[in-house]
């Protein structure tokens, strides 16, 4: 039973110039699926269509028995609680503390007055402390998010997404703003956490080596269509040439 089924998804930002051309994919309910491809090929658009941060032009996105594309505002909000997202630029609320940023993950479940007063259920707070421990940021609990380094911020971002106890994790270029060593640490963290919590992951990335190393499945996109869908092992140089075009960058 796939966690996510995408049927014929299309997106045009400008009429007549589709960025996504009828994409159809099934994302399995475990493991990491990495989407690779050149800039502008629609990778980010695809990820953002799934939780409708970008509105699809046509197609279906079946998640938990519902077509996300057709949901009204309230139903969409409820569905988004089950989809966690990690962003390229972390998108933390800079002026809030690390703990408050983590608790943002529960905002879909806490009523506005309690959220304002920071009165979260005990189990949420306990869960937050656990996650902080796992990502190694316990000593930063009450520090403002903008005092953290890039890698630390992304850890908070991942923890925030996991606070939602999501059924699917989306990651839009989570390591593009990080140095190579930190990128590997973040990818390991994502892989380990999602494995232990049984959460399927869909990552969009531009670092092919990183994708090969951490993904269970690689989806290569070129000009809005899927041109490769298989294991990292099967991703040959020939395939990469088809995805990216040109070969000077390969060696």
């Amino acid at each position: 039973m796939p966690a996510l089924s995408i049927r014929n998804l299309s997106k045009e930002y400008v009429r007549g110039k589709p960025v996504l051309r009828g994409i159809s994919l099934d994302i399995s309910d475990h493991g990491i699926s990495a989407i690779i491809g050149p800039s502008g090929t629609g990778k980010s658009t695809l990820i953002r269509c799934i939780n409708r941060l970008v509105e699809p032009t046509s197609g279906e996105i079946l998640f938990e028995g519902q077509d996300v594309v057709k949901l009204d505002r309230r139903a969409l909000r409820l569905a988004r609680r089950h989809i966690g997202m990690v962003f390229q630029e972390y998108n933390l609320v800079e002026r809030l503390t690390v703990m408050e940023n983590l608790l943002c993950g529960r905002l879909g479940y806490v009523p506005p007055l309690k959220a304002w007063l920071r009165k979260y259920p005990e189990k949420d707070i306990a869960h937050a402390f656990e996650l902080l421990d796992v990502v190694g940021l316990s000593e930063f609990t009450n520090q403002r998010a903008d005092s953290l380094s890039g890698g630390q911020r992304q850890r908070v971002g991942i923890a925030r997404a996991l606070m939602q106890e999501p059924k699917l994790l989306l990651a839009d270029e989570p390591t593009s703003s990080l140095d190579p060593k930190t990128s590997v640490e973040i990818m390991s963290l994502i892989r380990d956490l999602c494995r232990s919590h049984n959460i399927p992951v869909m990552i969009n990335m531009h670092d092919v080596e990183l994708a090969r190393r951490f993904a269970d499945r690689i989806i290569g996109m070129s000009q809005g269509s899927v041109v490769y869908d298989g294991t990292p092992a099967g991703l040959s140089d020939e395939q990469l040439k088809i995805i990216y075009g040109g070969q000077n960058w390969l060696h």
Partner: protein, 268 residues
């Protein structure tokens, strides 16, 4: 080689010289129309000196009236500021074009523009007609002024926030109010505190004036002292207003320290 062979680097164009001449001519003409003459100026200086002589030394002729007027002005300023701040929060939010649909921003922005159109004294006159003489009119007038000022600046501050943070909170499935509380407010809170304390100070000064049209406060005491030619009492009132404004500055600084310091530590 003479300097005459090099062009003068400071030469101004004929047009700008003509402009200055035209301006000077106009000033002379306007002064003659308004009867601004040197003779009047000299007489005025003499009158001014005598006036200051009558003001000094300051004399607290009616201490009860002075104390009552001052405290009333302070109360008007604080109440008007609190009410104005409370109202300008939702109004400013509704007026921000990056977060709200057109049917919300339009009325909110019109409301703010209306509040800003008139000087507080004019608004005070209107409220005195509406609710009668006294402090209530003054409070309402300054509340309107506060909403106009804080609301406009607050809306502009919200329009400058990073939408990425808002997007992330939205993506967790948070309802609208939670998105505002966690995604928007933390980004603008410290600026909001700045606007609010500035308006508190401004209201303190305005509260001394609305009394002149009967809306309560020290303005009324000042005006009647003036009309009775009690110039030394006038001087005492003016000095006490200066004292009150200084108290207000300390108050505003304290408010800023409390809210912005907490803001840094607890991230509110």
């Amino acid at each position: 080689m003479t300097s005459a062979s090099r062009p003068n680097p400071f030469k101004s164009s004929a047009w700008s010289r003509a402009g200055w001449v035209a301006l000077a001519l106009y000033v002379v003409y306007a002064c003659s129309r308004l009867e601004i003459t040197w003779a009047r100026f000299m007489v005025g200086l003499d009158n001014g000196a005598r006036f200051i002589g009558r003001m000094l030394p300051p004399n607290i002729a009616q201490p009860d009236s002075l104390a009552k007027g001052l405290t009333e002005s302070l109360e008007i300023a604080i109440l008007a500021s609190c009410l104005g701040i409370l109202i300008s929060l939702p109004v400013g939010l509704l007026a921000s074009r990056n977060l709200m649909p057109v049917w919300a921003t339009w009325p909110a922005r019109m409301c703010i523009a209306l509040c800003r159109s008139f000087h507080p004294v004019i608004v005070a006159i209107l409220f005195v007609k509406a609710v009668g003489f006294g402090a209530l009119a003054g409070i309402l007038a300054l509340m309107v002024a506060s909403v106009g000022f804080i609301g406009k600046l607050f809306a502009e501050a919200i329009e400058e926030i990073s939408l990425k943070q808002v997007e992330a909170v939205r993506a967790t499935g948070a309802p609208f109010m939670n998105v505002i509380t966690y995604g928007v407010l933390p980004q603008v809170f410290s600026r909001f505190v700045g606007f609010a304390t500035y308006q508190l100070d401004s209201n303190l000064r305005n509260s001394t004036m609305v009394g002149i049209v009967g809306a309560g406060g020290i303005g009324g005491t000042l005006f009647s002292a003036f009309q009775r030619f009690d110039y030394d009492f006038v001087c005492a009132i003016l000095l006490s207003i200066i004292g009150m404004i200084m108290v207000g500055e300390v108050l505003a600084g304290w408010v800023r320290a409390v809210f912005l310091e907490r803001g840094k530590v607890e991230g509110e």
